[in-house]
Amino acid sequence: MATRMVAEGLVSGLGDDARLLGGRRRADGKVVFPLPLGAGAEAYDAIELPREGTLWSYTVQRFRPKPPYAGPGDDRSFTPYAVGYVALPDAIIVETRIETDAIDRLRIGMPMTFTLQTFRTDADGAEVLTYAFRPSKEGDAP
C-alpha cells in the first residue's frame, strides 16, 4: 500500500530505519527541531535525533480540533489522542503525538521510543504517516 509522510524533511529513512530529523546550527552547534527548510536552512546541518528519550510532559486531546487539523473522521468518530514532549538526551525536547493504548499509564520520566504512525488514510488509499513516540515498555505487564 502507498504511504507518504505528512511533510518533507521530518524524517530520514523508511520503516524501522526511520529517524527524526533535526538541525545543528553551524555557527554554534545549537540543536533545533524541526529541521529548518527554505530561507535560513543553509545555516543548519541536518542531523538524526536520538530514537530514545524520556517523557517530559503530556496531555490528551479530548475533542476533535478545528482545521487546520486534518486527522481522520469527524466529531462523532473522533478518538482522543495523547500528545507530549519527549526529552532526547544531549539534543532537544520535541513535541510529539504519543502512540499508546494506555493513556492513563503515561508518567513523566518514563522511557519513550521513536516510531512512525499512520495518521490518516487519504481518499486515494495512501496512508499518511507522521512521527510519534511510544512508551518503550508498552506491551509489558504493568
Binding site: P34, T59, I93
Partner: protein, 380 residues
C-alpha cells in the same frame, strides 16, 4: 517626568451579547469610560486600541467623532489590551500628550481558537497533525508543574470554584452562578488534567480606560489611580511557550517573570506590598503557576495557600476578584484591560459585593500567545 493616572474606566459586560458587534461593545465601553471621567471624546489627544477578531479598533472613529485624533491600532496577541495600556502610558510619560484613551474589544466564535501555523512561522504539518492547540500547551505546562511541585488536581478545582464564586458577585462577569467543586472535578476533560470548568472560553466584551497626566488630571479636577509600573516582555530562549514544536533542554525564565520584575522595579514595590491581584487564568493551572511567576509565592506553596483560602476575597492575597478569565471569558483584545478595569474599581472602593478592604496597590498580568506577558501596577 509626569505621573500617569487612570481617570475613567468603562466596560461592556463580558460573555455573549447576541446582535451586538465587537465594535459596538468597544464603543459602549469607551462611552462609559468617558462618562466616568465626565469628559468628551473631542478632548482626547490620542487613542490606542486593539481587537483580534472584531475588526480594526480605529473603526470606532466614525462613531466617536472624526476629530483627527492620533489613533493607533494595537495587535499583540493575548496581551493586546495590556500593550495598548503600555502605549498610552508612554505617550503621556514622554510629555507629548496629556489625555487619551486606551480601548480593547473582541467577539470570538464559539469553541477553542484555531491557530494558523503560517502566521506563527510554523510548518503546516504542525497544525495538520493536531499539535497546534493552546489547550494542549496549558495541559502540559500544569501537568509538569504538578509533578515537580506537588500540586494536586483538587487545587485546580478550587481555583475554578473561587472563580465562579467571584464571578457571581461581579456585574461584568459572564459566568454568574457558583459551581461546586465536585461538579468541576467530575466534568469532562478538555486536555488532561483540566476539565471543561477549569478552562476559560473565547468570548466577547469591551473595556476602556482614560489616561491623564498628573497636571491634566488636576486641571480637570479629576482623580484616579496612578500607574506605578507597566511592562511588556516576550519569551526568551528556553522558556516553555505555547506553539513550541521543540524546547531547549536548559530552561529559561518565562516572559511573565521578566515583565513582573520590570514592573516591580518601576513601581519600587514588591509582591508583599500588593493588596489585590489579577493574573492570567486561561485555565486553573495558569493561575497557580502565575502566582509564583509574579512573585506572590514560591513554587509549590500554592497547594497550602489555596486550601487555606488565601486567594479568596478576604484572604491575604485575593486573586482574580471579578472571576478572571474563567468567569469572564477571554475576548483577546479586551481581556488585559478588563483586569485593569477591575483593579480601578477595587482601588476606588467601587467593587461592591467583592470589595477588597482598603486596597491601595493593585497588580495585573495578562499572558498569551505567542509567549508574552504584560504587567501593570496601580496605586489608589
Amino acid at each position: 517626568m509626569t505621573d500617569v493616572h487612570i481617570v475613567g474606566a468603562g466596560i461592556h459586560p463580558f460573555g455573549r451579547t447576541e446582535g451586538r458587534s465587537g465594535l459596538d461593545q468597544g464603543l459602549f465601553a469607551t462611552n462609559e469610560a468617558l462618562a466616568d471621567a465626565g469628559l468628551d471624546w473631542s478632548q482626547m489627544e490620542f487613542a490606542f486600541g486593539g481587537s483580534a477578531a472584531a475588526g480594526n479598533a480605529d473603526a470606532l472613529l466614525p462613531r466617536l467623532g472624526l476629530t483627527g485624533v492620533q489613533f493607533i491600532n494595537v495587535a499583540n496577541g493575548c496581551a493586546t489590551g495590556g500593550s495598548a495600556l503600555l502605549a498610552g502610558y508612554w505617550a503621556i510619560k514622554s510629555g507629548e500628550f496629556d489625555l487619551g484613551l486606551v480601548v480593547g474589544f473582541d467577539k470570538h466564535p464559539r469553541g477553542a481558537f484555531n491557530a494558523d501555523p503560517e502566521k506563527s512561522g510554523l510548518p503546516a504539518w504542525y497544525g495538520e497533525t493536531g499539535l497546534m492547540l493552546t489547550t494542549q500547551f496549558f495541559g502540559m505546562k500544569i501537568q509538569r508543574y504538578m509533578g515537580l511541585h506537588g500540586i494536586t488536581a483538587e487545587t485546580l478545582g478550587r481555583v475554578a470554584e473561587k472563580a465562579y464564586e467571584n464571578g457571581a458577585r461581579t456585574p461584568h462577569a459572564w459566568r454568574r452562578e457558583p459551581v461546586g467543586l465536585n461538579v468541576i472535578m467530575s466534568a469532562d476533560l478538555v486536555s488532561d488534567p483540566l476539565t471543561k470548568f477549569m478552562f476559560c472560553s473565547p468570548a466577547e466584551g469591551g473595556a476602556a480606560l482614560i489616561l491623564a497626566s498628573d497636571r491634566k488630571m488636576r486641571e480637570l479636577g479629576l482623580a484616579g489611580p496612578k500607574v506605578r509600573g507597566a511592562a511588556v516582555r516576550t519569551r526568551v530562549s528556553g522558556s516553555f511557550e505555547v506553539f513550541s514544536p521543540s524546547l531547549e533542554l536548559e530552561r529559561g525564565p518565562s516572559p511573565t517573570v521578566l515583565a513582573s520584575k520590570a514592573a516591580y522595579e518601576m513601581a519600587g514595590v514588591g509582591p508583599t506590598d500588593i493588596d489585590v491581584i489579577q493574573i492570567q487564568d486561561t485555565e486553573s493551572g495558569a493561575e497557580i503557576m502565575h502566582m509564583a511567576e509574579n512573585g506572590f509565592c514560591q513554587d509549590g506553596e500554592q497547594e497550602e495557600l489555596i486550601a487555606a483560602g488565601a486567594t479568596r476575597i478576604g484572604g491575604r492575597m485575593p486573586v482574580n476578584t471579578d472571576g478572571g478569565c474563567l468567569a469572564c471569558g477571554e475576548p483577546i483584545g479586551a481581556s488585559g484591560l478588563r483586569q485593569v478595569y477591575e483593579n480601578v474599581q477595587q482601588l476606588r472602593g467601587r467593587a461592591e459585593g467583592r470589595q477588597v478592604e482598603q486596597a491601595r496597590l493593585g497588580y495585573s498580568q495578562v499572558y498569551g500567545a505567542p509567549g508574552l506577558s504584560a504587567v501593570a501596577i496601580l496605586e489608589a
